[in-house]
C-alpha cells in the first residue's frame, strides 16, 4: 500500500508509529492482538510463513470481531503449528487433507449458513504446494461456485516440509531437491509457470490480491477488505523460506521486499477479474540483488556468472513491471 501518512518519521512503513493515532496503527502494533499463531511453534528460525500467517489471521480476527474459523491444508504451516496434541493456534482451526482445504472451508461456510450464523467468516489456508498443485481442483471449484471463503496461499515456492521439492510455484533456475543445479539447464526449468493469482482473476471472483511479509500495512488492508466481502476471495502472500532458499534467517523480510522492488513479485489487487491497484516500486533494484543472498541461485553466481540465465530472469521482472505498471511515471 502506498504511504498514507507522510512526514511522521516512518509514516506507515513501520509496524507501529507512536506519532500516529491508535486507529491509524497496524493490528500487529496492538498489545492486544490475537497472536493467532502462538509461541512454541516448530517453524524454522526466521520462517516467513509463520510470520505471514500471524499477520493475516490476526488482521482477519480483528476485522470480523473474532468470528472466524480456519481450515488448513497439510504442509509446513500445519506440521509446525500442530503436532498432535499440541497446537499454536488460538482460533477455531481444522486440519484438512493436503488437497481438499478449499472444499472443507466451503463445507464449513455452508454449515454456518444453514445454522444461521452469518457473522462467522471462513478462511482456508495452505502453502503453494497445497494450493497451486494438489488442492488446485478444489480451489477452482470454490472460485467457480463463488463460495463465501477467503483462501490464503502462503507461497514459499516449493514443498518445504518434505525436503524442498519443486512445486508449480517454484521459479525458473531455482535449485530444489528435485531440480538440482546440474546439466546444461541447471535448476528448475523455464516453463509456462502457473500464476494462480491470475487464474483466480480469470474466474471473475469478487476479490484477488497479492501481498508480501515486507509490507505489513498493505497485507492487513487486503485481509481486512477481503474478509468483509461475501463470495470467493483469494490472497497470495509471498513468504520467504530461509531453509529452502538457502538464505540467512534474518533476511526473510529483506528478501520479500527485494522480490517486490525488483519486479519479480508484483503486488496488486483485482476485483471481479479486473486489476484495480498496484503497489509501485519505491526504489528499483536489479534481480541479482534479490537472488544473490539465496543459495538456491548460487549456481548462477559462481566464478563465471550465468549471465544469460540472469538476463532471462531479469526479462521476467521487466515484463511484470511493464504489464502491471509497477514504476512511477518518469522512472523508466
Amino acid at each position: 500500500m502506498d504511504q498514507q501518512v507522510k512526514f511522521y518519521q516512518t509514516g506507515t512503513f513501520t509496524v507501529g508509529n507512536r506519532l500516529l493515532a491508535p486507529e491509524q496503527r497496524s493490528v500487529q502494533a496492538d498489545m492486544a492482538r490475537t497472536n493467532s499463531l502462538n509461541s512454541g511453534h516448530r517453524a524454522c528460525q526466521g520462517c516467513g510463513e509463520a510470520l505471514g500467517a500471524r499477520y493475516a489471521i490476526d488482521a482477519a480476527m480483528r476485522a470480523c470481531d473474532k468470528q472466524l474459523i480456519a481450515a488448513n491444508a497439510t504442509g509446513c504451516l500445519e506440521v509446525f503449528s500442530t503436532p498432535y496434541p499440541e497446537t499454536s493456534w488460538q482460533i477455531p482451526w481444522i486440519h484438512s487433507l493436503f488437497g481438499n482445504t478449499a472444499a472443507v472451508a466451503t463445507g464449513i461456510a455452508a454449515a454456518m449458513r444453514v445454522k444461521g450464523r452469518k457473522q462467522v467468516r471462513v478462511i482456508a489456508q495452505g502453502g503453494d504446494g497445497g494450493t497451486t498443485d494438489i488442492g488446485f481442483g478444489c480451489l477452482s471449484g470454490m472460485f467457480e461456485r463463488n463460495d463465501d471463503v477467503l483462501y490464503i496461499c502462503y507461497d514459499n515456492e516449493a514443498y518445504m516440509n518434505t525436503g524442498v521439492q519443486r512445486s508449480s510455484a517454484t521459479p525458473p533456475a531455482a535449485r530444489t531437491a528435485t531440480t538440482m543445479p546440474v546439466g546444461p539447464e541447471p535448476g528448475n526449468v523455464f516453463g509456462q509457470g502457473k500464476n494462480v493469482p491470475r487464474i483466480a482473476m480469470a474466474h471473475g471472483i469478487p476479490y484477488v490480491a497479492t501481498a508480501t511479509v515486507a509490507d505489513l500495512r498493505d497485507l492487513e488492508y487486503k485481509v481486512k477488505k477481503a474478509i468483509n466481502i461475501r463470495g470467493a476471495k483469494y490472497i497470495h502472500i509471498f513468504v520467504p523460506c530461509p531453509l529452502g532458499w538457502g538464505a540467512a534467517s534474518h533476511d526473510t523480510i529483506k528478501l520479500a521486499h527485494l522480490a517486490k522492488e525488483c519486479g519479480l513479485f508484483p503486488v496488486f489487487e483485482a476485483e471481479h477479474g479486473e486489476l484495480t491497484r498496484v503497489s509501485k516500486i519505491r526504489k528499483p533494484v536489479p534481480v541479482e540483488e534479490y537472488m544473490k543472498p539465496q543459495r538456491r541461485y548460487a549456481h548462477l553466481f559462481g566464478k563465471q556468472p550465468a549471465l544469460d540465465i540472469i538476463a532471462k530472469i531479469q526479462a521476467r521482472a521487466d515484463r511484470n513491471i511493464k504489464q502491471y505498471g509497477l514504476l512511477e511515471q518518469g522512472e523508466h
Partner: protein
C-alpha cells in the same frame, strides 16, 4: 489427566498448547536492546542529547524538549543562531537525502521558551561559593550549571554587559540582542550574580578576599593579534589599520567605526567574515577579504563565507600583505606546498584600500593570573588537566583561554564540563568519565523504513534586505515546519517505539511493554533468527552469540 474412556471418539490425548515447547533452546545468538550513540550527539561540542530532544519535539512536547537541551546547554535560542551545527554534518540522514535541520529546531525551541517564559530552578543550596572570571559563553554556562547544582556563583565581567564574544564578537545580524539578553537574564534569575564593569586585577587576591571555594577562569581572548606590516605614507594618504576585535566591539557599543571607503580585511576565520559583513552593512564602498590560505583551507565556516559572498564581499585567497605604501597594499601570491604549508612565490600585485582590518587571531590578557600559584602557561594558553583544573588547586579554566576549538558551542561545552568537575571537587568526589556507547553508524540501520521528506529550508531574507541593516537574517521555522523537520530525525541507535521488532518476530517473542516503556525479549521462545535486529530501523538491537 482424564482417562481415554472419557474422551470423544478417536481422541486419546488432551489438547495442549505449543507453549510447552520452549523453542528458545534452539538459539545460537540472542537479540539484546541497546542505545547506541547517535552521530549528532557524538559530534556536539556542548554534549547535547540531540536525538533525545528531537524525539520529544516530534511529539510536540516542546517544553520537555527544551528542558532536555537545558540539561546540557543554557542557550538554545543563541545556539539556534550562532552555533556552527557540526551535528548536521554528522547527521546520518545526510547520507539519505539532507541532514535534519537540527539548528533550526533548536532555535524554534529556544524561542518558544522565551515566548512562554519557561525557567529553570537552581539546585538545593550547598553553601559553597564559586568565582567565575568572564561572562562569556563558557563562564555563563559554568555559572548556570553550578547554580543548578546548588552552588552560589559570582561572575566577574570587565565589560559593561555580559555575553563576552556572543555580544562583542558576533554582530547583531547573526545574534539579535534581545534573545541574548533574555537568555542571560534567565541565568541571573537563578540567583547567579553577574558583576559587570568589574575587571579583576588579581584572581588569587579576589578568591582570598571573598572566600571563594573554587574558581573558573573563562576570560577568553580579548585582544586582536596584529602583525607588523611595513607602512609608508603620511596624513590623508595614510591607510587606517585596525584590528577586528576592536572593530566588532565598537560596532556593538555603537561607537563610530571608520569602516568606510575601500575596506580590506586580512584573515580567513569567522571573525574576518564577520568584520567584512559588518563593513558592508555600514556602507563600505567595497569589501575585500585577503586570506593567506586557499578557499578550502580557510577556517571560516562555509555557510558564513557563502552568505558573505552573496552580500558582495570579495575573497582573495592565497595572498600575503607584504607592505602598505600610502593607500596601496602589496600582495604576494602564495601557493600551497606539499603539506599544508604555504610557499612564497615572489610574485606581487597591488590593490587600493582606505582601511585595513587585521583579523589574524586573538591573544589573551593573563595579568590577573600572575599570583595564582602553580598555573602553567604554554603557547599563550592556560594548561589544564582532563578535569579542566589548572596547576592551581581549585582553579579551573575553560573557553578560549585553554587550547580548544575556540567557538561559542565549544566554550559552552567546556563550561558544563568545568561545572561538573568543580562540583565533584567541592564534594570531594572522584568523577570517572562515563564509557561512551558505540556510535550508531548508518551501516547498523535499516533506512528503508523512513519516510521521504525534503528538508524544510529556512526562509532566508533576500540579500538586499539583509545588507541594508543589522536585522536578523536567518528566518524562523513556524511550528508546523519545525515539527516536520524534527520528524525527519531517524533516531539513530535509540529505540523510538516503531513496534517493528514486536511485529516482525515470527515467534511472538518480543513483548511490548507499552508507551514509553519500550520492549523486552521472551528468551523462552526466541529462536535467535535475527529478523528483529535486521528490521530495526534505527539499529537499537544487537545480536550477541550465546555461550554454547
Amino acid at each position: 489427566m482424564s482417562s481415554v474412556m472419557d474422551k470423544p471418539f478417536a481422541i486419546t490425548l488432551d489438547v495442549g498448547s505449543s507453549l510447552a515447547n520452549k523453542t528458545g533452546s534452539w538459539r545460537t545468538a540472542r537479540p539484546v536492546y541497546l542505545d547506541r550513540l547517535p552521530p549528532c550527539n557524538h559530534q556536539c561540542p556542548a554534549g547535547e542529547n540531540i536525538q533525545s530532544w528531537l524525539n520529544l519535539a516530534e511529539e510536540k512536547q516542546y517544553e520537555a524538549a527544551w528542558r532536555k537541551i537545558m540539561e546540557e546547554n543554557p542557550f538554545p535560542a543563541i545556539m539556534g543562531r550562532v552555533c556552527y551545527h557540526s551535528c548536521e554534518g554528522a547527521c546520518n540522514r545526510g547520507k539519505i537525502d539532507l541532514p535534519v535541520g537540527i539548528n533550526s529546531v533548536e532555535r524554534f525551541l529556544g524561542d518558544q521558551a522565551l515566548k512562554h517564559g519557561w525557567r529553570v530552578e537552581p539546585g538545593k543550596p550547598t553553601g559553597k561559593k564559586v568565582m567565575v572570571l568572564g561572562a562569556g559563553p563558557g563562564g555563563l554556562a559554568a555559572a548556570y550549571h553550578l547554580a543548578r547544582l546548588g552552588h552560589q556563583v559570582s561572575v566577574f565581567e570587565a565589560s559593561p554587559k555580559a555575553g563576552g564574544m556572543m555580544r562583542y564578537g558576533i554582530p547583531k545580524y547573526r545574534m539579535p540582542r534581545e534573545k541574548l539578553n533574555a537568555e542571560i537574564a534567565r541565568i541571573k534569575d537563578m540567583g547567579v550574580a553577574i558583576r559587570v564593569d568589574s575587571k579583576v586585577a588579581d584572581v588569587a587576591q579576589t578568591i582570598k578576599d571573598e572566600g571563594f571555594d573554587a574558581c573558573f577562569l573563562a576570560a577568553g581572548l580579548q585582544n586582536g593579534r596584529r602583525v607588523e606590516i611595513p607602512q609608508t605614507g603620511e596624513g590623508s594618504q595614510k591607510i587606517a589599520v585596525l584590528d577586528a576585535v576592536s572593530v566588532l566591539r565598537a560596532v556593538e557599543l555603537e561607537e563610530p567605526v571608520a569602516l568606510s571607503g575601500r575596506v580590506v580585511v586580512y584573515g580567513g576565520g569567522n571573525t574576518a567574515i564577520d568584520v567584512a559583513r559588518s563593513a558592508i552593512r555600514l556602507g563600505a564602498l567595497s569589501v575585500t577579504v585577503v586570506v593567506l590560505e586557499s578557499r578550502e583551507q580557510m577556517p571560516a565556516h562555509h555557510e558564513e563565507i557563502k552568505e558573505g559572498l552573496e552580500e558582495g564581499i570579495h575573497l582573495v585567497n592565497l595572498r600575503q600583505i607584504n607592505a602598505i605604501d600610502g593607500k596601496r597594499l602589496t600582495l604576494e601570491t602564495m601557493v600551497s606546498g606539499a603539506g599544508r604549508e604555504l610557499v612564497h612565490t615572489g610574485q606581487t600585485e597591488t590593490i587600493e584600500a582606505d582601511v585595513l582590518v587585521q583579523a589574524l587571531g586573538q591573544t589573551g590578557d593573563y595579568a590577573a593570573l600572575a599570583n595564582l600559584r602553580g598555573i602553567v602557561m604554554r603557547d599563550g594558553a592556560v594548561q589544564v588537566g582532563t578535569d579542566l583544573m589548572t596547576g592551581a588547586r581549585g582553579v579551573f579554566a575553560g573557553g578560549d583561554m585553554i587550547p580548544s576549538q575556540r567557538n561559542v558551542t565549544a566554550a559552552i561545552g567546556l563550561g558544563k564540563k568545568a561545572a561538573r568537575n568543580i562540583d565533584a571537587y567541592l564534594r570531594a568526589e572522584q568523577t570517572a568519565p562515563k564509557a561512551k556507547a558505540e556510535i550508531a553508524d548508518i551501516s547498523r540501520m535499516n533506512t528503508r523504513y523512513y519516510s521521504d521528506a525534503p528538508r524544510t529550508v529556512r526562509p532566508v531574507l533576500d540579500v538586499v534586505r539583509r545588507t541594508s541593516g543589522f536585522a536578523e537574517i536567518v528566518g524562523n521555522l513556524d511550528e508546523e515546519t519545525a515539527v516536520f523537520e524534527a520528524r525527519r530525525c531517524m533516531s539513530c541507535g535509540n529505540c523510538f517505539e516503531c513496534d517493528n521488532c514486536y511485529g516482525v518476530c515470527p515467534d511472538n517473542s518480543v513483548i511490548k511493554l507499552g508507551p514509553g516503556k519500550r520492549f523486552a525479549f521472551n528468551y523462552d521462545y526466541c529462536k535467535g533468527c535475527g529478523i528483529c535486529a535486521a528490521e530495526c530501523p534505527c539499529g537499537a538491537i544487537k545480536m550477541v552469540p550465546e555461550d554454547i
